[in-house]
């Protein structure tokens, strides 16, 4: 009987964009057990809420992560607005939805590029990131920032879109869609990708439930868990949102879900542009958050994130807490790594799209 060998994986590894450590216990080439540990990029951002006033902290919340930055800003202001009983104008909700869905497109394209790079498919990696540039350019034109926008504020948004901007977003997304479909075909039908992803890292529907999986990871196993279905602030109800699901639960299914979600996000953005309500984009905010607490959720590109704020009647909040999707997907990763080949570990880890800086805050 083969001996158990422990191989350390990370925190620095070519396939990992961010540091996470896994102790892989191997029997020959098979992983018997994976033990994750984190803490290499913990910045204690939640604690800063005691030092910054509730409006300033929006900028800190956005810096929890560079990829889902807009969503974190939105989640935080949504929680503060809930605590203060502020209702934002409908146009601001549509604009938030639009930027959030653009962020999802950018996040998924970034991830597809990283996945292609991990498989050694360099031209596909460059294609994905070239398409992502189109989205980053749109961010820059509409918000002034390419990664962190700071357009979300308590009470609404800082910037409005002009008619010309809306036309440009529509034209660029429609143009990008053609190239995106050509790239999707490669992801879905190329032999190299099929052999690296199909049937690898399978997570059953029951396991997705039992291990608390979220986002595309859960949806790729047939679990239709998507907070956008219940979101009463964004434009999702008006746009008749339905979650994308796949049934296979393997690495390829997780790729398929993200590819379909990019198409869906483009539809949602076009829907927002078409139905954009007229009116103001912010309401005045008077006073400080009252004593009390509020939970809210936002469906980030990686899954559901939970935001909690606790006020005490002063300008500083007493507590801010963020439960990120990677936090929820780590146990699922441990499950799917059991029994896989050592050579498949990098691809499997990537397909959960881990965001460690989010996870550690």
């Amino acid at each position: 009987m083969a001996e158990i060998t422990t191989v350390p994986f990370g925190p620095q590894h070519p396939v990992l964009p961010e540091p996470v450590h896994l102790d892989l216990e191997l029997k020959d080439e098979k992983v018997v057990r994976a033990i994750p540990s984190i803490g290499y990029v913990h910045r204690g951002l939640e604690k800063l809420v005691e030092k910054r006033d509730f409006k300033q902290f929006t900028f800190v919340a956005e810096r929890v992560c560079g990829i889902c930055s807009f969503g974190h800003g939105w989640g935080y202001v949504k929680a503060v607005e809930g605590l203060m009983g502020i209702e934002v104008p409908r146009r601001a909700s549509y604009l938030r939805t639009l930027w959030h869905e653009l962020s999802r497109v950018h996040s998924h394209l970034l991830w597809l590029g990283l996945a292609a790079d991990a498989m050694g498919f360099e031209s596909l990696f460059m294609t994905a990131w070239r398409l992502r540039e189109t989205v980053l350019d749109l961010f820059e034109e509409t918000t002034g920032g390419r990664v962190i926008f700071s357009v979300c504020k308590v009470g609404g948004v800082r910037r409005d879109l002009t008619g010309a901007m809306m036309k440009e977003i529509e034209d660029k997304l429609k143009g990008m869609r053609k190239e995106f479909r050509a790239m999707s075909d490669i992801f879905l039908h190329d032999g190299t990708i099929q052999s690296r992803l199909a049937g690898i890292g399978v997570l059953s529907l029951q396991d997705a439930r039992d291990f608390g999986c979220l986002g595309p990871m859960a949806r790729a196993s047939g679990l239709p868990l998507d907070y956008r279905c219940a979101d009463d602030e964004g434009a999702y109800k008006d746009l008749h949102f339905r979650p994308v699901t796949e049934q296979a639960g393997d690495c390829l299914a997780r790729v398929k879900v993200r590819l379909e979600e990019i198409e869906q996000s483009i539809d949602l953005i076009l829907g927002c542009l078409e139905n954009m309500p007229e009116g103001p984009v912010e309401v005045p905010v008077k006073g400080f958050p009252p004593a009390g607490e509020y939970f809210t959720r936002v469906e980030q590109p990686r899954g559901e994130a939970v935001y909690y704020v606790k006020g005490n009647g002063t300008k500083n909040l007493e507590r801010f807490r963020l439960r990120t999707p990677t936090n929820g997907n780590l146990p699922g990763l441990v499950k799917i790594l059991q029994g896989c080949d050592l050579a498949d570990v990098p691809n499997i880890i990537l397909t959960i799209d881990p965001c460690i800086s989010c996870c550690e805050r």
Binding site: D210, F211, V306, R321
Partner: protein, 153 residues
Amino acid sequence: MQQQFIEIQPLDLPGRVARFKKEGCRLVQILCTRVEGGYELTYSFDRNYFLYHLRLTVPEGASVMSVTSMFWYAFVWENEIHDLFGLDIRFISEDVDYRGHFFHLAEKTPWHELQNAAHAKQAFKVNLRGGLGIDASAVRKDAPAGTDNGKGD
């Protein structure tokens, strides 16, 4: 957002969590907040996008039962609370009980014990300066300890 808070006693936690598990709810998160004289814990469960929050207060020095036997994936939050807040969580599943080593931080944890130690050191200095007219550092060079995670290894 639709949600409901339910106040419970620490001893009732396993029974209430088991009931949520039986009803098919999903454990969404565990929140820990420092309060005067202890910790406030919130266990959030989701059913059809409705959140139920179990709220309990654990006094300083007391412990709380782990829920990993019902929701295995709670180990991420339980180990985080243990490592960073120093709350003693009993009977975390053996395979995922990190005993204070889940977070690889450059600084020692839990935070509040460090803060308490720093305050104690400061008070010690002030008392000695005022009472005896000498610097505490000359008397006692080492600061009060308080940086162990409780369980050790």
